[in-house]
Symmetry: C2
Subunit: 176 residues, 2 copies
C-alpha cells in the first residue's frame, strides 16, 4: 500500500537555493513572469513545490533573490572583462565596449529576462533598488573609462558621455 516516494538526495542549502534561482530566471526568460509559477520553478529545479518555501519565506522573496543574482551576474561579467583589458585608456574602453556586446554578456535569454522583469521592477520598490544599484555601478565603470581618455573634458562632460555611450551599447545589445 505504500505509495512509492520519489527518491531524492540531500543537497547543501547553497546548491538548492542556486538551483531554484536559476530555474526561476530561466522560466521568466522563456515565458515571462506568468510562466514562473512555484510549480514550474520546482519542476525545472528538479524538486517538489513544497521545497521552495523551505528555502524562501515566500515566492516573492525567491523572485527578489533571483533578480539579485541576475544583477550580480551582469556586474561580474563586466568586471571580469575589465580586468582582462589592456593598459591603454583608449584600448581599455574599446575592449570593454566590445565585451559588453559579445557573449556571454549578450544573450537572447537575458533580453527575455529583462523584458519579463520590467513590469515587476516598476511596481516593486525593493526590486527597483536592486536594479538601480547594478545599473549605476555599470555606468560608473563606463564613466571611469571615459574620464581616463587622453582628452580635455570636465567631469560633467564625462558623465554625459557615459550616459550616451551606455545608450548606444544598450541599443546594439537589443539587436542581438
Amino acid at each position: 500500500m505504500s505509495t512509492d516516494r520519489r527518491p531524492y538526495r540531500r543537497e547543501t542549502e547553497e546548491s538548492r537555493r542556486e538551483a531554484l534561482i536559476e530555474a526561476a530566471l530561466d522560466l521568466v526568460a522563456e515565458g515571462g513572469p506568468q510562466a514562473a509559477t512555484v510549480r514550474a520553478i520546482a519542476t525545472r529545479a528538479g524538486v517538489t513545490p513544497g521545497l521552495i518555501r523551505h528555502y524562501f519565506a515566500s515566492k516573492e522573496e525567491l523572485t527578489r533573490a533571483a533578480y539579485r543574482r541576475l544583477v550580480q551576474i551582469l556586474t561580474d561579467d563586466s568586471a571580469r572583462a575589465l580586468r582582462a583589458a589592456p593598459a591603454s585608456p583608449t584600448d581599455r574602453l574599446a575592449s570593454f565596449v566590445a565585451a559588453s556586446l559579445s557573449p556571454p554578456v549578450v544573450d537572447p535569454m537575458r533580453l527575455g529576462l529583462w523584458a519579463g522583469l520590467l513590469n515587476t521592477l516598476r511596481s516593486d520598490p525593493e526590486m527597483r533598488q536592486i536594479h538601480e544599484q547594478g545599473y549605476h555601478s555599470y555606468r560608473d565603470l563606463l564613466e571611469g573609462l571615459i574620464a581616463a581618455l587622453p582628452r580635455d573634458a570636465g567631469p560633467e562632460q564625462c558623465r554625459h558621455d557615459a550616459i550616451a555611450c551606455n545608450a548606444v551599447i544598450d541599443g546594439l545589445w537589443l539587436e542581438s
Copy 2:
C-alpha cells in the same frame, strides 16, 4: 426591487472597438499581459466584461487586434515624420532619425508594451507575423534613406548600414 441598472450610451462599433483596444494596450503597458484580463479591460474601457465578446469572438482576437493597432500606430508615426522631412537626402535621414527619438514615437508606455508583448510574440505565430511586417517596413524605410545618401555604396552595404542604424536608434529609444 428593481436593481438600478447602470446608465449607458450606445456607441458606434468603431469607437467601442477602439476603446477596448486602447484599454488593452494600456493595461499591458502598465502591468504586462497578465494584467490585461477581460474584466480589467472592460473596466478601463468603461463597459462591462460581457461587451467584449460582443465585439470580439474571443479575448485572443482582441489581443491580436490590439497588437495590429500598435504596429499601425508606429508605422504611421514613422511615415508622417518622413512626409514632413526636408528634401536633401542627408537631412532627410537626419530628421527621420531625430523623429524616431522624440515624442510621440518615444514614450515610456511603448517600452512597457514592447516588453510585455515580447513573450507573446515568441509564442504566437500570428502575432509574430504582424510584428515582423511592421519591423521590416520600418527598416526598409531606413534602408531607402540610406541608399539615397550621396556616397559610394552597394545595396549590400546599405542593408548592413540600415540594420546597424536601426540598432543604434533602438538603443537610444530604450534609454528614454
